[in-house]
């Protein structure tokens, strides 16, 4: 409960600072709309915002599912195979040196203006954190467990499924929480580059028509959506990926 009270206080503080900025700077509402104006825009355009939010949410969720599955599979493969580690790890790190933003136009060119170019962006942006977190977890199995398994005559596959993977699940949880925050960024960048639907598209559209209050409203909804995803990932990893389930 204390957590929620703190979150409420933080939101209130944000609104107060925002309103104070509007008053003190005296900026016109088409440059910096106040909280009230944005709230009104959010209410009057609720159907429009909801429609575009649903598209972005779909892109993010599908991207999270595919990116996490790919990340988990890659991490296990890297943990099992020394040659895969030698070949794939430098590639993985190199892939992180290319900004995903730079790939967005190419992905749009290849996959079109629909959902898939945005899903691909979300997948690309979360693949590395998920892979890296889970792989680290898989490589940090307590030595005592491995010693015990060795004296028991364990098969390598059983050591993986019954010891290394369960021991690495909390690390996977951390990766998935990061992914939940990053995935919306990927989807929105994709929407900025080329889309006809989604919150990123709506923000661009509103900006172009000088409807800054609507743009802020869409941005707030995006923020709430990201926080909601993070909280969901946090709750899920506490429930299913904790080393000490209740």
């Amino acid at each position: 409960m204390i957590r929620w009270r703190h979150a409420g206080l933080a939101a209130l503080l944000l609104v107060v600072v925002w309103q104070a900025l509007v008053w003190f700077t005296g900026l016109p509402h088409f440059i910096l709309p106040g909280p009230r104006r944005v709230a009104e825009a959010m209410w009057s355009s609720r159907a429009l915002i909801a429609e575009h939010a649903a598209v972005t949410l779909a892109e993010v969720l599908i991207g999270l599912a595919i990116g996490s599955a790919l990340g988990v599979a890659t991490a296990i493969h890297l943990a099992v195979s020394e040659s895969a580690r030698a070949v794939l790890r430098p590639l993985l790190v190199f892939s992180q040196a290319i900004p995903v933003f730079a790939l967005a136009p190419i992905l749009t060119l290849w996959l079109g203006y629909g959902l898939w170019s945005k899903i691909a962006m979300a997948v690309l942006i979360i693949y590395f954190p998920v892979t890296s977190a889970f792989f680290d977890g898989l490589m940090r199995t307590p030595q005592g467990f491995l010693d015990l398994a060795k004296t028991m005559g364990a098969t390598p596959a059983a050591v993986m499924t019954r010891i290394r993977i369960p021991a690495a699940l909390p690390a996977l949880g951390s990766g998935l929480k990061l992914a939940a925050v990053y995935a919306p960024i990927g989807a929105v960048i994709g929407e900025w580059v080329g889309a006809s639907r989604g919150l990123g598209y709506l923000m661009l559209l509103a900006n172009g028509r000088a409807k800054i209050d609507l743009m802020f409203a869409a941005m707030l909804v995006l923020g709430v959506l990201s926080v909601g995803l993070y909280l969901a990932a946090d709750a899920l990893s506490r429930r299913f990926l904790s080393p000490h389930p209740a």
Partner: protein
């Protein structure tokens, strides 16, 4: 368990240029408890890990063999100071982990019996985090028994327990491991004096066989002969450890 073999180790272990032990001769009598004492860092855990077939970061040259001529590997059960219970698994899950790691179907009935003998029937479905230190080591002992191996290697398994629980665990271990060949590595002279059919002290110059108190293990905690032996072991460890400075290291693990 009448077929538990004796074990003998002959050889030399070195880590780079540093020799851990040279021309070592260790004999574990069949079906008996051998207690191995020594100050920290003298190599007693390394010796146990060599017999267990585990990684030691040393180069061993020599022979580790069983008196019946069959290989030692695959006939060893291992128990460490840390209970090594899988935190995500119940007591029952932990006791049957060996079978599942080998891809065999676990014998749940037998596992239940072993859990009962360890006094944990009420806790069989509980997670390790909800158990006390003593209960966790009982679960680890039940898991060790579930392996049903003739050779048992114990690396300071009771040293993290309080005195009362430790004495209880020692009694339980002696009764449950009867007939097996046991090597107990410990830094507690009292533990060695209570439990050993043979007591060895490992020093920089090799193994030294110490007199064993009368009576069969587990000896009573107030048995005068046992207490005298404990005192003698204490004194020997201090002297062989090179005075008070080195002796104080025995407090650490």
């Amino acid at each position: 368990m009448n077929d538990a073999p004796g074990i003998f180790v002959r050889g030399r272990a070195a880590c780079g240029d540093a020799v851990l032990f040279d021309s070592l001769e260790l004999d574990l009598a069949a079906g008996r408890w051998t207690c191995l004492l020594g100050v920290s860092g003298v190599g007693k855990s390394t010796l146990l890990r060599l017999i267990a077939g585990l990684e030691t970061h040393t180069t061993f040259s020599g022979q580790i063999a069983a008196s019946d001529g069959r290989p030692v590997a695959g006939r060893v059960a291992y128990m460490a100071q840390s209970d090594l219970l899988l935190p995500w698994s119940s007591v029952l899950g932990n006791v049957t982990i060996g079978a599942r790691l080998r891809g065999e179907r676990p014998d749940l009935e037998r596992a239940g019996e072993l859990i009962a003998r360890a006094g944990l029937s009420e806790h069989r479905d509980r997670k390790p985090a909800t158990l006390s230190g003593g209960q966790r080591q009982r679960a680890a002992l039940a898991r060790t028994l579930a392996e049903d191996r003739p050779l048992i290697l114990l690396d300071e398994p009771f040293s993290a327990l309080d005195a009362h629980t430790r004495a209880e665990m020692q009694d339980l271990a002696v009764s449950l491991l009867a007939g097996r060949t046991v090597l107990l590595v410990t830094h507690d002279p009292g533990e060695a004096a209570r439990l050993g059919h043979a007591i060895l002290v490992m020093t920089d110059t090799g193994l030294r066989c110490m007199p064993v108190p009368r009576g069969s293990p587990p000896r009573s905690v107030d048995d005068p002969d046992m207490l005298a032996s404990q005192g003698a072991l204490h004194r020997f460890l201090r002297e062989s450890g090179g005075g008070a400075g080195r002796g104080s290291e025995t407090v650490g693990a």
